[in-house]
Structures are given as C-alpha cells and as structure tokens.
Symmetry: C2
Subunit: 766 residues, 2 copies
C-alpha cells in the first residue's frame, strides 16, 4: 500500500531539508521587506555568473508588447536548419504553398500564439518576479538555468529515445559533472543558486540518495560519526544510499524484517535478510552505484528486540565495485518512470559491521551490550515531516505548471472544427469544454504555489519554535504536512493527466513531454507516504481537535474554525455574490466542519453501539479521508483569497489572480457539489449560480491563458516538448524530433527477417 520510492522524493528531502531555512522562502510572493531581499541578494555570490542572458525559451515576456525585445524569445534556429536539411522533395512540397497557412513558417513565432501575448491584461515579467519572490530571484534562477542548459553535458535532447541503461548512465554523468560545474560556477550548497539547480536539471541526475545518506548521518549520527563519514561522502570517496523500504514492508516501519544482532564477542552487528519479503527493495542509487548504505534493521541484543535502528553498511568494494561478501544486490528493473535512477535491492547474509556503525545520536549499544537511549528525537520527527512539504515545489508543482504551459500553448495553436459556420477552424482553446479542462488546472497551479508559500512560512515558524525546545506545534505541522502532501499530489497528478488528454493524439506522443511528466508525478502520490494513509493521519488530528473544541478546550490556530460550528445557509443572492471570497470561503469552511463533525459523530455512535474502537475507525475511513481533504481544500481557498488581497494592485496582477482564485474556488464547488448541497447550506438554485459564475470565468481567464503560463518562465529546453515551445511551431518540431528517433535511424532487421520473406513468398502479381 505504501512504499517509498526513495528516489527523487528523497532527494527532495535533501534539497528540501538543506534548503529548509528561513532564507529560502523569504521574499516569496508576499514581498517581504526589502532588507530581507537585499540580505538574500548580498548572500549571493553570483557575480561570477551572467545575470542577464540570451534566453531561448519560454517565459515571461517582459512587459506586454515588448516580448522579443531582448532577443530572449527567438525560436531555436536549429529548427530551421533541420527543415532546410530535410529531403528536397518534402521541403519543396511543403514550402510551395502558403494556402490556408496558419503561419507555420519555421523561424518565427506562430501568429496564433503571438496574438495571445499581445492582449495580456497584466505584465508577465512582473508576475514572474512575483512568483519567484522578487526580481533578483528571477535573475539568479535564470542565470542558473542558462548555465546548466548551455552546458551540453546536461542536455536532455535524446531523453525520450533512451533505454533504462542509457538514462542511468546519463544521470551518473550529469551528477559527476555537476560537482565540477558547481565548483566552476562558484555555486555552494548554502548559496542562493543552489535551490534552482534541481529545477534547471529537470531531475535527471543521480546520487540523490547519496544526499539522503549524508542527511541521515547528520541527523541520526553522533558527532564522531559525522566527523568520520560526512567528509568521505562530501569528497565522494564513497557513494551512499538509504535502505529502509523492504519488498514486503513500506509505510509501517515497525514491520521491517531485516535483523541486526549484536555479537558481544566481536563487538559487531551481524545483519541478515531472514526471508525474501525482508529484502531491501526500491532504494535509489543502490542498484548499481552505491558503495555504502544506511540499513534500517531490527536490533537484537542478547535475544531482546529493541526495534528498528540505522546501520552503515558497505555493499560494494571501493577498489573494483564488486559486491562485498554476504551481499546480494542489483537493480529492481523497469518502472513507469525514474529510469535514470538505479532503484535497487539488497540481501545480506551474516554481514558484520563494527559496533560504531550503528548511528548512535539517540541510542547506543554499549560494549557490554547495555542498550542506552538518550536525548529527544522530536527534532528528528520534525525533519521527517518537512520532507513532504519540501517535495511539493519541484516534484509536484513544477510538473503541473509545465503541463499547463504545454497544453495551453498547444490549444492556442491547434485548430479543430468550426465554431462558427463559414469561419476558419477554431483554436481549440476557444471551446468551452477545452477551457473547462485546462483553466481549472492553471488556477490550481497558482493556488498550490501560494499554499506552498504558506506552508513554508508555517514550517519556518515551527522550526524556530522547535529550536527553542517548544514542541507544541508538532502535531499540527505533522497533520499539515500529511494532508497537504496528499491533497496537492493528488490534485496535480490528475491535473497533469487532464492536460495530457486535452492534447489528444499528439499529447500521447512522448515528444509532447506530457507522458513523462505524468508518469513521474504519479509516483508522488505513493512515495513519502501513500496518500490515503497520510489523509487518515490528518483526519486523526482533525477528529481529536474537533472533540477538544467541542469540549471547549484550546486547539491549534489552524483548526479553531472547528469550534465555531454555525448551521446557517449560504447568503448568496445571485451569481455575482459567488465571486465574493467571503461567500465561498465561508462555504468551504462550513463544508469542512460538517464533514469532520458528522464523521466524528458516526465514529462515536459506532463505539457507543459496542463496535471496537479500531473496527469503528476502519468503518469510517472513507469518510475520514474525505473530511481531511475538505479541510485542506478549505485552507487552500482561504489562503488564495488572503494572498490576493495582499497583492499589489498595480500591473494588473491582483485582478487576474482574483479571477484565478474565484475559478479555483468555484471549480471546487462545481465539481464537489454534493458536499455543499448535502445539508442545504447551498441550495440547488444557488448551485446554478455557482455554475453560471464558474462558466463565465472560463471565458474571462481564457483571454490571459497564454500570458499566465508564460509567467511560469520555463525555457524550451526545460519543457522539452514539441507541443509547448514558446514559438508554437508545433508541427515543424514534431516532425524534426521524430527524425531523431532510433526507429528512423536504420532499416529494421524485421525487414530482412520477416517482411521480405513474406512479401516474396509468392511471385508478385503487382
């Protein structure tokens, strides 16, 4: 049910945890005070990189009307070259007529896309800066992206044609080269550029688990262990992994079956994989790369089991990379994505490690076999919960934003059927059904960007409290990280799928970039805690708070609304009322309270009627998960509305964000109408008003749809999509890229082996 992929997910742990400091999100979106920004800027050692640069890409066209001014938006000239090199027959045929042309001339921006940019109601460049948390951040990010993308070692050009073996090799090559690159560019792990590197690489890099290896030693190891292992890892004298998940065991850590038995005579731990379900399975970097790993195993001392503990185990020779004695390890084979990661398996038979290899910051086995527990692990639990939040940005939001960019640009270029008789075929973005697929996903991308800022701030505050040894906020933070990880990954995964399907057949081609975005984001619903389990953890917190609030006890700030249960009805009188944030936020709140309170009531009824507590809980889990989602949905809407209110009114940004906020909220009511109608809080007639306002909004936002995705500021190389490039030259690019496919590089052996004998079987009559 729940397993860790232990791959990128966990990277994020690394990147996330490392970056999880107040400075990381200062100045984001809410326009924190200038000093904060300048400080951040002063920290920037970025004088070494070019701050302004040619930018063959996506985004953020500057002020309206000056899109191409810096030459940044010029389409890739290689396109035209490729076209010129195509067979003369085809070239001649294709260039000979411009009749019915939709302007698909190589070397220029498709007029169907260019026209979309001329009517933007806001400054795209300013919105980009807003999303980045200030224009300086935008510069730094672009500089990092440029440095990475201009380096051929990091090219993703042939990614869609590569086998699992080839992708692994490329990921290792990039990881090794990245060390060099960082040194060359003067980027450090504490520098301002660091957080943009992963986005710039678009994830295809190895050694992410090496970082988790390091982090786990830093967090769980003693000072002595840190002093020994961290320098070795930093200098890559070893390659680390992190072996927790087993073939038969995921989320439920107590269930792990790997054993580590203390041998008092030799002062060693003897590690074993007692049966097949105990085999470590999934850890990234372990299948082919790692020399060492942190193994989680049940600790036995003198016959007594002390539960799961972490041990550093060497698995491959540092001399020739052969497997160490007692070790069986390899790659777990092909996956839906993450082909570049060597997720691995590991079996151990009587593998001995010295006593010092158990990470012993929190507990230790002394030489005489005495087991000692010490200090508080609470800060460590906190670090774990932050991982779920830290993955949202790069692993979940970025794919949705990319998918929206690709699908919306394509929908402004693709023409299909006639909307009005006698006119030319219409852009598919002009169809209400297409808008209704894509624009709510766009609104969600913004909503989740803002909730991500909110969560960063919340965890930032929590971190400061915890550093002061105040652990009161831990349960709330845990509930937040679980619930939002589940809600956001679920929503964004489904959003990417909608974008893929909305692009029809061409979306199904790998060259569109959409299939790989989908197959990758899908994993986020599973790793770092399977979503259903996470929602139920949030639900447990909510039920507890609801009970406390009902009893008049104090509850954490985010759930005080549970105490204020008002029956009431929605006061909206007409469809315009549903564009009032107070009206819809109140509706979400009411709905969340109702779902939580009614489920709490069902739970109590069951228990009072004699059902055992755990059975009663299980019988309510479908509704509990629904209630947890409702809570997160409410907080997201509320936060979006509050963010809009605080935005600057200039540059048209507040206005368009208000539209998106309305759309996000009304789409949620429209598509979950039952939970709002259930107790009559919203009436059928009011639901018709919601629908009317919702559909009206689609037409309004459609006008700014392309500028809104341009503001995400993805380069063409980063999108890696034949459908989504800035210039909208969709068909030329599909054709050019298809040429590079291995299927076009040579005659298939199938011809000589099968087709020729078949066709020449009987004397031809043709």
């Amino acid at each position: 049910m729940a397993f860790f992929l232990n791959a990128e997910a966990a990277v994020l742990s690394a990147l996330g945890a490392v970056g999880f400091t107040p400075s990381r999100h200062s100045g984001r979106c809410r326009q924190r005070s200038g000093p904060t920004r300048h400080r951040a800027h002063a920290e920037t050692p970025a004088g070494r990189v070019e701050l302004r640069w040619p930018w063959g890409q996506g985004p953020c066209s500057g002020d309206t009307g000056s899109v191409a001014q810096a030459g940044r938006q010029q389409p890739d000239s290689s396109l035209k070259d490729a076209w010129d090199k195509s067979s003369s027959a085809s070239r001649m045929a294709l260039l000979e007529t411009g009749k019915h042309s939709h302007g698909l001339v190589p070397g220029s921006v498709n007029p169907d896309l260019a026209s979309e940019r001329q009517t933007a109601s806001f400054s795209v460049e300013k919105l980009t800066a807003q999303l980045d948390g200030g224009v300086e951040q935008t510069w730094i990010r672009r500089a990092v992206v440029e440095a990475i993308e201009s380096d051929p070692v990091f090219s993703r050009e042939n990614q869609y044609f590569q086998s699992q073996n080839e992708r692994y090799e490329a990921a290792v090559r990039k990881a090794v080269h990245l060390q060099k690159k960082m040194h060359e560019m003067g980027w450090t792990e504490n520098g301002p550029e660091f957080k943009y590197i992963y986005r710039a690489l678009s994830g295809d890099v190895a050694f992410l688990l090496h970082r988790i290896f390091m982090r786990s030693i830093s967090v769980l190891g003693s000072d002595k262990q840190i002093a020994k292992w961290i320098p070795l890892a930093t200098q890559y004298q070893l390659i680390g992994s992190y072996a927790q998940t087993e073939l038969g065991h995921g989320t439920y850590l107590q269930g792990l079956e790997t054993t580590a038995v203390f041998d008092i005579t030799t002062q060693e731990f003897i590690l074993n994989t007692p049966k097949i379900s105990a085999m470590k399975w999934w850890p990234g970097d372990m299948g082919r790369s790692a020399t060492h790993t942190v193994v989680f195993a049940q600790l036995y001392v003198q016959g007594k089991c002390y539960g799961v503990h972490p041990f550093i185990v060497q698995i491959r020779s540092l001399r020739d990379h052969s497997l160490c004695p007692g070790i069986t390890a390899g790659d777990i084979g092909p996956k839906m994505n993450f082909e570049h990661i060597d997720n691995g398996y590991l079996m151990m038979q009587n593998v001995r490690v010295p006593r010092e290899n158990m990470l012993n910051k929190f507990c230790e086995v002394q030489p005489d076999g005495t087991y000692v527990r010490r200090g508080s692990q609470k800060i460590n639990y906190f670090t774990m919960t932050t991982v779920r939040i830290s993955l949202i940005s790069d692993e979940v939001l970025t794919p949705l934003m990319k998918a929206c960019t690709i699908a919306i640009r394509y929908s402004a270029v693709r023409r299909q059927s006639k909307l009005k008789p006698g006119e030319e075929e219409a852009k598919i973005l002009d169809y209400q059904t297409q808008q209704e697929k894509l624009l709510p996903q766009l609104a969600a991308a913004y909503a989740f960007h803002f909730i991500n800022d909110y969560l960063q701030e919340l965890f930032d505050r929590g971190y400061r409290e915890i550093q002061r040894k105040n652990f009161d906020t831990l349960p709330e933070l845990h509930a937040f990280s679980s619930g939002f990880k589940a809600m956001v990954t679920q929503h964004c995964t489904s959003g990417v799928e909608i974008c893929l399907r909305a692009c029809g057949g061409h979306g199904y081609s790998l060259l569109s970039g959409l299939p790989s975005l989908y197959t990758k984001i899908l994993a986020s619903c599973i790793y770092e805690g399977e979503n259903t389990i996470l929602l139920l953890q949030t639900a447990r917190f909510l039920i507890k708070c609801f009970m406390a609030a009902s009893a008049g006890q104090p509850v954490p700030p985010s759930v005080t609304y549970l105490a204020a249960v008002k029956p009431g009805k929605c006061p909206a009188k007409n469809k315009l009322d549903f564009l009032r944030p107070d009206i819809y936020t109140e509706a979400y709140q009411h709905m969340a309270v109702r779902l939580i309170s009614s489920t709490a009531a069902k739970l109590q009824d069951l228990i009072q009627s004699g059902v055992k507590k755990h059975d009663a809980w299980n019988q309510c889990t479908v509704q509990l998960a629904q209630a947890a989602k409702a809570h997160c949905h409410y907080i997201t809407v509320k936060n979006f509305a509050e963010t809009v209110e605080k935005l600057e009114t200039k540059a048209g940004i507040q206005k368009i964000m208000k539209h998106l906020c309305d759309l996000f909220a009304l789409h949620g009511i429209f598509s979950n109408s039952g939970v709002f109608l259930h107790d009559g809080y919203i009436s059928g007639a009011q639901m018709d008003m919601v629908t009317a306002s919702y559909l009206d909004l689609l037409a309004v936002i459609r006008k700014d749809a392309v500028p809104l995705v341009d503001a995400f500021d993805f380069t063409d190389k980063s999108l890696n999509s034949a459908l989504g490039s800035y210039d909208g030259q969709v068909y030329h690019r599909l054709y050019e890229w298809a040429q590079k496919s291995p299927t076009n590089k040579q005659m298939s052996p199938a011809y000589e082996k099968y087709l020729k004998p078949l066709l020449h079987n009987t004397p031809s009559k043709l």
Copy 2:
C-alpha cells in the same frame, strides 16, 4: 483535440466492424439460441474479409476448489528453479527461517490467496461460462489461449525490457508467425476460434492496419477493385495501411489538406502534401512496414474541389522496400505505449496513381473528368459507428478486468500495518479505503461487460434493419456508440489508474503489468473520436429527442423516458431501500432527465435572449457533456439490474451479481451526489442512507473479491504481472523477474567512465 491513433484502435475497427455480426456476440451471457448465430452469419455481406472477429473477453477458472485441476493454474515451476539457482548465500539466508512467514514458499499457492478461494459464495467456473456465453465458448477460448501461449514465438516474457525497435520487430515476427499458426491449427477467419486470438496474443502483434486497409477496400471499393486488391492483401503480396489523420487534422475530416488532382491527359491523380500540417501522421503499420496505403485526400477535378476521397497509393518498393519516388515516410517516434506499432508519417510530392486507384463504390471520376456519385453511403456510416462499440471488449474491458485481477489478488497477499492491536499485519484488502478503491472498479467491469452485451444486441438489431434499407435507427445507434464509447473508456481508464495506485510502489514497477495496462487504455479515450466530442454528439441527439418528446412527437425507444418527466422525490425510507433496483434506477432516470431538460432550457433561453445558435451551443457544452454521461450511466445501471433479474438463480451467481449491481449503482450516486441532491430528489438524509448501504456492500463483496476476479479467467502469461499471478507468490516473482532486466545483465559503462574516476579521485581514507 481529437486524433485517431490509427493503430490498435483501428484494428479494432477491423476486428470490430468486420466482426460486427450477430454471430460475434451470440450466446454471450444471455445464452442466445444457436440458430440466431447461424442466420446472422449468413447475412454478412463481408465475406471478402474476416467475418468473425476477435472479440476476446472475460475468462475464468475452474469450480471453486478445483481451480488448478487442469494444471492450468499451477504456479510457474521456473519460479522455484530461479530460486534454486539464486546465490547460495541469499538462498540460504532466505530459507533459513520461517518465522513470521506469510507462507511465501516457492512452488505453492500463497495461503493468503488460497484461503480467499475457499469461501467463494458461488461457482467460479459457472460464472466464467456465463461471461463467455456458454461453457463451449470457454473451452474454445481456453484452447486458443493454450495454443498461443505454449508457442514460444508468441512469448511476452521480455516485453517490459524491450526498446521500441525490439517491440516492433517482435510484433512483426508474431504477425508473420500467426499466419502459419492459424494454418497449422486449422483456425480460419470464419471459425469459432478466431475471435479469441487477439485476446490470447494480448495485442502485441503487427499488421492490424493491414486489416483496415482490406476493410476499407471491401467497403469503399468497387467489385473490380475488390477483385484486384483483396487477394493480393490476403496473400501478403503487399502490406497495407490506412492514412487518414494528418499532423494538423484529426476528427474534423473536412479539414484534411492532402490534395489529389485529376490529370485528364494521363488519366492519373496527382497526390501532394501541400504543407507540413497536411502530412499524414499516426497511421499504424506505415512507419516501417507498409508497401501500400489508402490515402484520404481532397479531390480536385478541373479546379473544382469535391471533398475527401480515398486513394490506394504505393509507398514502398515491393522489391527492396525502399521508398517510392515522391514519397517521404518514417516512424513518428516514441509514444506512451503501442511501441510495437510503427505509427508513421507520410508526405507526397507529385505522386501519380492511375484513375482506377480511387476507391469508387460510391463515387467515381470518369475518364472525361465527370464526377459521378452513386448509391447510398448510409450502410458505410453505420459500419463506422460500430467500430466504437467493437473496441470496448478487447481494448477497454480486458485491461480493466486484468487490472482488477492484479490489484485484488495483490491486496489479498500484501500485508501492511495492524488493523487490530496485537494481531499480525492485515491484508490491505481488509481496509475499507482499499475496498473503496478496488471494488467499485470490479463492479464497473461487470457492469460494462453486460452493457457491452446489450450494445451488441442493439447493433445487431440495427444491422438487420439497415439491411432491409430501413435507416431509421441510425441516429440512435450513432448516439449510443458515441456516448458509450466515451463513458466506458473514461470510466475504465480511471479504473485502471486506481488499481495501479492502489498497489503502491510495486504497482509502479513495470513488472506489475499495471503501468502498461494504463498507458495503453489511456489511448482509448482519444482514438476513434475524442471523448468530449463524442459526448457532445450524443448530447445533440438527446436534446433533439427531448424537444421532440416535449412536443409530443415520437422518439426512439431508448429515450422514451425523456417524455415522462416526473418531479417527485425518491421514496426510499431507509438504507435497505437503496438496495432496491427500482429505487436507484428511478433515481438515475430522474437525474438524467433533469440534466438534459435543464440544459435544453438553458440553450433555449440563450437563443431567445439573442445569442447566436452556435455560441449558445458552445456556452452549454460543459453541461451537455455531463447530461450525455448521465444518460449513459442511467442506461448502464438499468441494464445491469435487468440482467441480474434474468440470471439463473442457481450457483449463487445471481446473488453476487445483485451485490455488484447495487455497488455499481450506489457508487455512482455516492460519487456524483451533487446531481442527485440538486433538486432535492434525494435528500441529505437519504444520501446518508446511500452512503451507509454503499459502505456496507464493500464488506460483503470483499469476501468474494478474489473469486470474482478469478472468474475473468486470465492466465498468468496473459496478465504478465509479478503481482497478479494465480499463486500470489508476489515477492519471489518480483525478485526473479528483476534478475532478467538488462540493467542486471552487465556492469554499466558508467562505472569505468564516471564512478571509478570519481571514487579514486583522492586516495581513499577508508
């Protein structure tokens, strides 16, 4: 927005449309009489092409308790062999202890799965026969499956490790070998085995478009053309394809841009691809295999355009397979699935074909340039609509049934966390949330199996009418085929995704079989008409019928319910009432009528307020699509209830089918509660009863979950899943299969190139 994949989809065309004769679905489930089968058979005018067709489908395994009797379900002995051959270290380690064992002993059925089968409430073998349409059909199907699967040429063993090139080669090899196999087995295209071949091959076979090529000639060609081309194609003296879709043009056929200009002086057509968007793109078998294709192009005679017509064009030499003069063609590159198919592109520059190569059953250009149209094309339109129905079984239902089989068997074996304190970890199938994910998909698989039977019967009747030159049913049939294709593909695609995600991390491994089922079924939402467009076609029919019914005019039988609009309220008094088919069927009917009538009203209001008709239509499309779905959902529920009523009462089948019918219906109400609550037809209190009954049913059906998927009767080879095999030896199989991965076959060059220099960069301190 809408494109044809022209691949398997179209196969299905072939398989489907050709096979669309009464004989195809005779005897299914409803146990039709033999004579019907024979008569229908004789009526078919399609003797030139395959008469019967694959129509493979649901499966099944022996009587409860005697499942393994025929040796068919014995676990693969190679498993044990592999285990024996594994390194002695690992083997010893793994066999040394049986402690906490879940019985994962190679060579036997996992006790966790075996126990599920001992308590079946019905005869699995009888249910299988019911699904097959009689026990004789089951025998024939199993014989075909056995013959195919025992032949090593058809093996899919390494499929998950193969590149696009390798899969193409394998598909060609299988297609060529299939000819031989059929001859050897005495299977003919008119024989009873034929319809099971495609299912037995699990789709990985080439030359499916060759069949479409033949069908299009049979349907659109004159007797003379048929006499010339069909024998050539039958003997594989050429390999055909079907080139309709263009890079810039999908569903909207009038928009095609390829031109065919008649040259009166040479009596030839000159074909051209005037610009890049006119390039043919997607046709299967065209990228690397085909020598000929049927090209759809705008016909020009003496400067006048006569619209789209079909032309036979040779594209590759029959001697050496090189491209013919004026032809540019190749493979369109990697896709999300269908790697075995060489979907291709095609450009033509001044390609000349003789006048006789225009398929001219319905229209002809005479030597003097006179354009003549003749006969009725209506029968042809009918053939087109049948394609959408014919693909449901093999391409949509089979994947959902397989996904349910894999996910449910795995959920009975996988244990995770404790449901009750002190007990061992629970089967994940015992969690309500897991049941709520999987069991509605299982119910849907049965619901769609039965609606498929219903649609077959409907089209069968329609076909007989049409042969009597009565075309009255055409609009209704068209609406049915569009709406049900959209609803069923949508529902089943989402069902497969749910199954995949419900298997957590292991579901994400290609070795689970689930990713490829998902990526393949996803395409069914796009090909043969994009779903949104199809739903709107159904909606147009419904609105028209609603208007007619309101005006007292007669309407087709399937929509007479639209005339009987009753306001009323749902009469259910308690949760048991919601297990009454009359109660929930009535609710679905009410809901469908309400959505159709309210959208019709909105449409009229808009038009009356001065909005132009096409604009008004576009502004209602989101709601129109919803109304069309509601109609299909209603018909599906109603049909399921009626089917259950007619089932034999013996063998416990009717009882379990009744539970599934209830679950399907209540799941639909539970998850679309808004549309039932909207006008108060169902009250909030009644919705709570629905929820209660729905959740109760999960626990009831859970007991028979494994027998219910066993009844689909998929062999292990057909599932090709490490998680879903009959013996439930999940972990052994994952481990065994991973060994075969190319990533474990050799040391990666990445070690010598990158890892070694990195690790040896500085003198080791370890």
